[in-house]
Symmetry: C2
Subunit: 244 residues, 2 copies
């Protein structure tokens, strides 16, 4: 992604940047109405997400910050891309947005010390950890509440240069700001999370870590438009639909 | 798999039986010391597992049977095959075996009614839903406790003819029987689970459902050998190792 004045260009790459160095073809495409972005990655293995990783969000959910990262999985069938509709599932009447910084893993990663974690990261993107609050309360485990089809919008692209230490994480519903946090308030930061998760399980290239959401979550309904943003990274926007 | 007297033969297939009809090449291999079986499937997407799905096991865990299936995920990086070692993770001192009937999905499956569920099943295999009890108690969500590397032995093969309604589900530790249940005691049976899960999320060919474990779970330690068996399906055996 390159900007010139008010225009944004996408640089077209050859090969698979997950498995070889990025190889620009020289071709550039202007980002505009004629260009449709897809989810920048569909994990071959897993999305590992972190709950209650901002103190103010843990408080608004009626809980405290956990002593160690609260990990859960979202399946790759939950991933949708920019502008794809979030289709509200029939089993829930309470679907919430959760804007998050997402980490894309670049190399096979197992038992990595915190100080080397950054070298296993390909880059960053924006995630919406869409959650069915009613099912989350009743189910105990969150597989259905946070794993239904469409519950993991990712995009708009993977930024390989972002410094994740102190960037804004925001969401807007129909243009109104709902969440406005900063990653410096993460209870467990990116290097700690990569290291901690890799102690238990191997992270593969293309696996994604969702780092948790700041305070300000709320419900979405049919006809809404939700935007999640990470400062310097871009905006992930999705319309919200109910079929029935 | 074919038996003649006390010999067992594997029929070699061509192509990918997940995406086309099984195509026997005519070649047969005798199962013996020279043959090493691998995990019969590595899901491209997910393993969906069901907690507390036998009343006697829910009781031994100090809980009741849930009103709806208690779903959680195991990642494909947790899968190992027959005879692969279960390496006990450093973060836990309490690792348990859980023998289970595993369902292998054969077709893309979304919002399938219970009465059509069977046609989406490719076959069945045996699973060990290996669990770190201490992390399960402390973590809240079970991603680490049930998702670490090696926590999902699968095998010895996929049986496409099994009727799952009333078969024995057993485990043995160092030859001693520990679990001895029957699938007729499943709280939520296979057709219900396939239908219920598919209401929330798309199941892909090769996805696996673990149907829950009967009573009798217990801990394993370095040097143990654990065997899980489903009646008529075969034995999934794994040695247990601790590295340090």
């Amino acid at each position: 992604m390159q900007t010139e004045g008010d225009k944004t260009f996408l640089a077209v790459l050859g090969g698979d940047p997950l498995y070889m160095p990025a190889m620009p073809t020289g071709e550039r495409v202007e980002l505009g109405d004629g260009v449709r972005l897809l989810a920048p990655v569909i994990p071959r293995s897993k999305i590992v997400a972190v709950g209650k990783n901002y103190a103010a969000h843990a408080a608004e959910m009626g809980g405290e910050v956990p002593a160690s990262p609260l990990l859960f999985f979202k399946p790759n069938t939950a991933v949708i891309g920019p502008d794809d509709p979030i289709v509200l599932p029939d089993f829930s009447d309470e679907i919430s947005y959760e804007a998050e910084l997402a980490v894309v893993i670049g190399k096979v990663c197992k038992e990595v010390p915190e100080e080397h974690a950054a070298s296993y990261v390909l880059g960053y993107t924006v995630a919406n950890d869409v959650t069915a609050r009613d099912a989350q309360r009743t189910d105990g485990q969150w597989a259905r509440a946070k794993g239904f089809d469409g519950s993991c919008p990712l995009g708009p692209w993977i930024d390989t240069d972002l410094d994740p230490e102190d960037v804004g994480v925001m969401s807007r519903l129909n243009g109104e700001t709902k969440q406005d946090g900063r990653t410096r308030d993460l209870v467990f930061d990116v290097p700690f999370l990569v290291s901690y998760i890799s102690q238990a399980m191997t992270l593969l290239p293309g696996d994604v870590i969702l780092t948790g959401t700041p305070a300000g979550v709320g419900l979405m309904d049919h006809g809404d438009r939700v935007e999640c943003e990470v400062e310097g990274l871009g905006v992930l926007a999705n319309p919200v639909l109910r079929r029935n």
